[in-house]
Structures are given as structure tokens and as C-alpha cells.
């Protein structure tokens, strides 16, 4: 198969022709400097000229490098200030503590750094550059995969691992032997006049292309496809059931393309919650959280499932994750006549590892005025001047320190009538008056389970009837993970190929001796990209080849030596 190289590939005499090489931007280290890419000559002052010039700049190695470094740099601020996406409470706290710097930083988009215009600009430019870089390389590589290794250089002396031997074997046999040896070693070979030219390691460029294309795939998966997902949070008290519709969430963030109909129908109920803690280093550390749920899809029956921190429950393509947990004191509020106007558990959010919890109870209707309670719940309390602090996450059984609910009482406008969404776990005190508790004349309420207390001004009464558990869950529909995983694997696989497969050329040339002179055989190689083991590989190849030749010569004529094809 002594075909000639394709006419478009006119190899230079030294065999280092770029034609069969992977295509590289002109400022690549292996590239030949060219004028336009290096910006040495002025582009023609025409629009097309400008555009072409701009495009070449954008798809150059230097631009890619600068953009990569900018991307790294641009990610730093997002780690220094809290982000709305990952730490919304941190942002609120930052705003409260540093209102002035907050304004400046916020106008720069630093609190949503990773969706800010400047960060988006960096990665979009980078990916445009990437696509512009990949397409010509892909085309070129597909051609190269079908091309022949280039012509053997006239002089091999200056190439890597040059070795020269003499042998009594005739040149034709030596070349044929070289050819089959190289093929067996995975080289693509082409025979030229008295020599074999061989190349291997196309997988290096294939891997590089897979790597870069998969990066684009990853961006599209996350950026575009990810917009079909949604997330929402919900607090579920023991016994409570949740139905997967937007209105049943405490908070809901739709993706850009998701709608109510993207929500898979199912129901979820918290049956019980069991935390275990271990006492160590003078404090309690969580060991295991297990939420026992029942789930149901339309037409099905309730099935029991256990939800843990690391093992989400999956229902109909939607994941339910355990985020947090805490206590929900159960209270009953009555009007002065004894009519129940409010009854039920209220989730108190934990403030520390020992579940000192704080919460709000809002009673908008049924009493003479709108009433709210705000305060703390401590499962194992010690009392401090500003309220209870818990010293254990377990409910105390010690009669001297029973779980306590400490409440201040407010009256006024709860702001619930305007139809505006209001945070159920916080109280806007602007239009409220504190009528009992810290800094008022009336002491706050201090309730143990079973206690009840009269409200000031004859408003009514409140009874602390029991303690439930609650969990907060993150309900999550994301169509991307499977694709993200696929691209991640392509990225990793492509990377390994392109970093560790050597791409190299080797030549074996046989020069017939004049008259009775022995044949001279030359070996040499050329690295295409990083290839630290090339010299050794050429030496081994030469040795192998000579062994084969010795084998050929020593076997009786007509009987092919072992291994010869």
C-alpha cells in the first residue's frame, strides 16, 4: 500500500511538515508565526478585514489563555462575599452590617458574582473562542485521520534517537520487516522508496478535541438544559403532607423554562424524625439524621421511605433532600370566651447545634386585635437574661430544666392582608406594638408543656400543648445530572488521552550497500507535542527490528520467521 501522500500535504524535506499535524492557532508553540495572527501587519481597513482580524485574535491561544486567567480571577470575588445563590442569609447579614459597602459591591453584582454580566462575558467569550478554535481543528483532524504519514525526510541524522546499523539482510526485506513491526506496534505506516514512515498517537488529538467539545457540552447542559429544572423548599411538621404544586412550597425557584406543568405530581408526608448525636469535645455533634417519610404518586398507595442527609428520596424524577430539622412547639390560642382561634405546631428554626430555636406564631384572626408571638424554644434550657439557651439537642427529661417556650407578645398589623408574600418565620415589627416581654412592663411568657397563660389586656390565652419534630426539605428537579455526568466523563477521558498518549513519528530507512557492502538501516523519531519517552521508544524499536532481521536471516530460506506477516 505504497500510496503517496495526498497532494494537499506537501511535506517539507525534514519530515516535520505541519500538514498532518493537529491544527493549532498560529500562536501555538508548534505553529509557524504568521502575520495576521500575530497582529504584525495592519488589517485592511474594511469591515470584513476587521472582523477576520478580530476573529483570529479571539480564537488565538493567547486570547484563550488570557480569558482562562480572567475566569480564574473573576471567580475570586464570588468566594470573598456571600452569594445570593448559596448563602442568602449571609447577604442579608452583610447588608445589615455594612450598608455602605454593600451598595457599592451590589452595584458591581458581587453578591451574584457568577451570574453577573462581567463574569458571564468572560465565560461566553471563552466559549466562543473555544468553538472557533475547535471547528477548524475538528475538520483538520478528520482529514488527518485519513491521511498517510508524511514522506520520509532525506536526512534523519538530526532527528530524535537517530540510530544507524548495518546488516547483511537486503534492503527490501528490512523495509518489509520494519513495516510489519511498526504496524504491530499500532503505528499507521506508509512505505516510500526504501523506507517506512510511521505515525501514531492520533488519539492524542482526538482526546484533546473530545475534551474541548465536552466542555462546550457541559456549558450547554448546565446553562440551557438546566433551565428546565426547579427547586423549592418546604418545612414539613410530623404528620403533615405536602403536595407537589407551586402553592404548597414555602419558597420556590423555577428555572428559566420551567412551568407549573413541569412539576411531577406526588405527595409526601413526614411520619417521624430521629436524630442521633454524640457527645464529644464538650459538645454535641450530629451523628445521623433519619426522616421517615411516606410518599405517594397519583393512583398509588403510601409507601414508606427513609430520608437521610446523604441519601435523597426520589419520586418521579424529582429528588427530595433533607436540609434541616428542628422542633415545632404545638400551641393553642383561645379568645376570652375559650373559643379556639389558632391551634397547631409551629416550626421554630434552630439557631445552634443544640437547637436553641427561634420562631414566630401569627394569629391574624379571631382575637380583638391581630396578635403575634415571637421567641425561643429550648429543648434543654439554661436561662440567661436575654432568653433561654439550649445545652443539648435532645428534649430534656430533667424536671429542673424541662423544655421551655419563651415568648414576647405583639399586637398591631401583621401585614398579612395585602396579599403580599410575607416571611412566615420573621416578624416585621414596624406596625406592631410589643405588649409583653423584654423591655416592656409585662414579663414575657415562659411555658412548659401543659402550661397555659393569659395574654395581656384580656386578649385571650395561649396553651403549650406538645412538641413535634419538623424537617425542612429541598425538592429538586434537575434534568441535567445524567448529561453532566456524561460530559464530565468525556472531559476526563479526553483529558487523559490527550495528556498521556504520545503522538510521534518514526522512520526506518534501509540503504542498500554497493556491491558486497552491507545494508545500512537508519532509525529516527519526531515528537509531536510533549513526548519525553520518544528517544527510548526509538531505541527499543531499533533493537526489536534488528532482532527480527536476525531471525529472518537465520531461518532457512522459504520458511517465514515467526511473527512475520
Amino acid at each position: 500500500m505504497a500510496s503517496r501522500p495526498r497532494s494537499s500535504a506537501t511535506p517539507r524535506d525534514d519530515g516535520t511538515s505541519a500538514a498532518a499535524d493537529p491544527l493549532r492557532p498560529s500562536d501555538h508553540i508548534d505553529g509557524t508565526p504568521d502575520d495576521a495572527g500575530a497582529g504584525v501587519t495592519q488589517p485592511r481597513l474594511k469591515l470584513v478585514g476587521y472582523l477576520r482580524f478580530f476573529w483570529r485574535q479571539l480564537t488565538s491561544m493567547r486570547t484563550a489563555l488570557i480569558l482562562l486567567l480572567l475566569l480564574a480571577l473573576g471567580a475570586v470575588p464570588g468566594s470573598l462575599v456571600p452569594q445570593r445563590s448559596s448563602d442568602p442569609n449571609g447577604v442579608v447579614a452583610y447588608q445589615a452590617n455594612n450598608p455602605d459597602t454593600f451598595k457599592i459591591l451590589d452595584s458591581l453584582g458581587l453578591f451574584s458574582a457568577f451570574t453577573s454580566p462581567w463574569f458571564s462575558a468572560i465565560y461566553l467569550l471563552l466559549f466562543i473562542s473555544l468553538v472557533g478554535c475547535i471547528i477548524p481543528r475538528l475538520k483538520h483532524h478528520l482529514d488527518a485521520l485519513r491521511a498517510q504519514p508524511p514522506k520520509t525526510p532525506a536526512r534523519l541524522e538530526r532527528l530524535v534517537g537517530f540510530t544507524s546499523v548495518t546488516t547483511t539482510t537486503d534492503a527490501a526485506t528490512a523495509v518489509a520487516e520494519a513495516r510489519s513491526l511498526l504496524r504491530r506496534q499500532g503505528y499507521r505506516v506508509a512505505s516510500y522508496d526504501g523506507s517506512v514512515s510511521a505515525e501514531r498517537g492520533y488519539l492524542r488529538e482526538t482526546g484533546n478535541l473530545i475534551f474541548h467539545i465536552a466542555l462546550v457540552g457541559m456549558l450547554l447542559t448546565v446553562g440551557v438544559f438546566g433551565s428546565y429544572g426547579y427547586t423549592g423548599q418546604r418545612i414539613l411538621v410530623q404528620g403533615e403532607a405536602f403536595t407537589n404544586v407551586i402553592s404548597d412550597y414555602d419558597s420556590f425557584e423555577p428555572g428559566r423554562f420551567s412551568t407549573e406543568s413541569s412539576l411531577q405530581p406526588f405527595q409526601l408526608r413526614l411520619d417521624s424524625f430521629q436524630p442521633t448525636y454524640q457527645f464529644q469535645n464538650g459538645g454535641w455533634a450530629p451523628e445521623d439524621f433519619a426522616a421517615h417519610l411516606s410518599t405517594r404518586v397519583p393512583g398509588g398507595s403510601w409507601t414508606e421511605q427513609t430520608l437521610k442527609v446523604n441519601s435523597p428520596v426520589e419520586i418521579g424524577g424529582t429528588q427530595v433532600y433533607l436540609l434541616g430539622n428542628g422542633f415545632a412547639p404545638v400551641v393553642t390560642v383561645k379568645d376570652p370566651n375559650g373559643t379556639v382561634v389558632y391551634a397547631g405546631p409551629v416550626a421554630f428554626l434552630s439557631q445552634d447545634g443544640n437547637l436553641t430555636s427561634s420562631g414566630v406564631i401569627k394569629v391574624p384572626d379571631g382575637l380583638a386585635k391581630q396578635v403575634a408571638f415571637q421567641g425561643f424554644f429550648c429543648p434543654t434550657p439554661v436561662t440567661t437574661p436575654t432568653g433561654c439557651v439550649s445545652i443539648s439537642p435532645y428534649l430534656s427529661k430533667d424536671a429542673k430544666a424541662l423544655p421551655v417556650l419563651q415568648l414576647s407578645v405583639f399586637t398591631g398589623d401583621l401585614g398579612l392582608d395585602k396579599g403580599v408574600a410575607v416571611n412566615a418565620y420573621a416578624l416585621n415589627e414596624d406596625k406592631l406594638t410589643k405588649i409583653a416581654g423584654f423591655r416592656t412592663d409585662v414579663p414575657g411568657l415562659d411555658l412548659h408543656v401543659g402550661d397555659s397563660a393569659e395574654l395581656p389586656n384580656g386578649l385571650g390565652s395561649i396553651e403549650f400543648t406538645g412538641i413535634d419534630r419538623f424537617v425542612s426539605v429541598d425538592i429538586h428537579h434537575d434534568p441535567t445530572p445524567a448529561y453532566a455526568l456524561l460530559f464530565a466523563m468525556l472531559i476526563l477521558g479526553g483529558l487523559l488521552l490527550s495528556l498521556f498518549v504520545p503522538r510521534r513519528r518514526v522512520w526506518i530507512k534501509a540503504i542498500p550497500g554497493r556491491g558486497k557492502q552491507p545494508t545500512r538501516i537508519e532509525y529516527a523519531g519526531l515528537a509531536r507535542g510533549e513526548d519525553p519517552t520518544l528517544a527510548r521508544a526509538v531505541a527499543e524499536l531499533a533493537q526489536r527490528h534488528q532482532q527480527h532481521l536476525d531471525g529472518v536471516r537465520d531461518s532457512p530460506p522459504g520458511e517465514p520467521p515467526v511473527g512475520r506477516t
Binding site: T163, N281, A484, A535, Q546
Partner: protein
Amino acid sequence: MTTATLAAYSVVAVYSAMTVYVLAFVAFALDLSKRSAIAQSALASAKAPASLSLATTASSRAEKAGSTAVIDKPAPPAQPTASPTAGRASRFQRTAYALVIVGWTVHLTALILRGLAAGRVPWADLYEFVMTGTAIMIGVFIFIQLWRDVKFLGAYITAIVVLLLGLASVNFYVPVGPLNPALQSAWLVIHVFVATLGTGFFAVGGGLSIAQLLQTRREMGGLARVPFLATFPASEVLENIAYRVIVVGFAFWTFTLMAGAIWAERAWGRYWGWDTKEVWTFIIWVTFAGYIHARATRGWRGSRSAWLAIIGFAAVMFNFTVVNLFFKGLHAYTGL
């Protein structure tokens, strides 16, 4: 043995390992000063050291008919060093290297004891993480010697390891505790372990890049006051070794990023959320991708790419210490 005794023995082993590493550091430093002396005396003898025989062809003619004779063969791949004395290890270096191996054995023992005491892998809080990470740095340093002799980096590596271990033992120490529920995952084992592996390679690569920068300065006529550099490989050789080492680290780091994402998906319901720790893992990954690109960009090979490698390693160290300690995030597993 009880958990407490096992953990106590582990602490003893850590301090012993640190002591041995300090001794190794001293011996490596003595080796460097010995190298300086040699380099200076070579300089003083005024005869420019005959450069290593870089002529690549050693000819031998054997015209025995009927056999294959080698007439031209490359010299064994020579590592061009600036001085012919570089080949032989000094007694100091041999001692230092032996100490490193002893220290490492003790260090591994400390790790195993800590793991036994906790009944799980010993990299779940910051103290353990540093302990494992430094053990891996030394391990990478030792195993790289099988491929290339980079013992001249010994002083650098032992210094970093002693500093980190000392910092961790004094400031981050926590008694053995259970795994935080968010960390109970096979992916933790993989993710954190591979991250520390990558860190080990980046540490060695960073050292090589520093050596490369210094060597470049010397080759351009500077740094006469650091004569031992004359016994180091040439800057280009250093650069090539650094590249090979960092690229391996980069592959591990890529895997770290992915295993981390899988773990995050399991634990928090999203595989990527720009949590502080994730951001830094990303920054490091992109920086080293930049380094690899720089090596392939005209005008950026050499010192500029070496700087990127050093910046990348600095970011790794930052992530290892400051981010773990002071930055708030979901990965708050320092145990402090």
C-alpha cells in the same frame, strides 16, 4: 486498645515524624550548602567545567559480516546539568533521603493509628486532612524519585510539610470524632483522597517551577549568591519535569472536581452551587488549565508559565488552609 490510646499514639507518631522531617530538612540544607561549595570550587578552578558529553553519537565500528552492527547510536538521554558534579549524591543527601523515608513510615503509622481510633478514613476534619495531605506530599516526592531524581527539592518539601504539620498539630487539633452526616459517603473518601493526591503533585511541581525560575535567572547571569543552583538541572529540564508532574496533578484535580460534584449532588441536592470551596477548586483547576495552555502558547513557555504553576500551587495552599478555616460554606468540616 481504646480509641483514646490509639489517638494518643497517633499524636506521638505525628510529632516524631515531624522531628525526623526537621532532621531531614537540616541534612538537605547541608547538602545544598555542600553543593554550593562544590560549585564554587569548580568555578574557582577557573577551568570551565567540561560540559557533559552531549555529542550524541558514539561510534563503534564492527564489520563482522553476517551480523547486525550498530554504527551510530544516541548517547543515553543525558540530563544537561550545569555541572558534572550533579550526578553523585552527597552523603548529606543520602542521609536526608533516608530520614525522609523513615519519617514517612512514622507519618503513615500516625495516620493508620488515627484511622483505627476513629474507625474510618483519617481525613474527615482539618487536622486529619493536613496530616493525610502532607503524608501524600512526601509520598509523591518519594515516588517521583523512581522516575526522576528530584531530591534537590528535599529541603523545600520537608519545609512545607513540617510547617503544615506543625500548624495543624498546634492549631487545628481535635480529638477523634464521628463523621458529620453530610460527609458520610464513599465519595468523601474518594474526593478528598484524590484532592490530596493532586495537591502532592502540585507541591512538587510548584517546587520545580520555583527552581526553574531561579535557574533561569542564574542562566541569564544573575543569582551569583545562590551557587548551589549550578548543580541543579538546566531550567529547560526543570520545566519539562515540572510539566509532567503538574499534568498528573491536573488529571487528579479534574477528577476531584467531578467526584466533589457527585458528592455534592448526593449530599445537598445540587452538583454545583458555587460554594466557597467549590469556587476555589474551580479557580485552581482553571489556573492549571491556564498553565497547560501557557506551555503551548508562544511567548508564554518558560518563566511565565512557571509563574502560573506557582500561583496555582499558592491557590492550592490557600484552599488547604485559609479557605478551610475562615471562609463560611457548606464544606465547613474543619471540626473546629
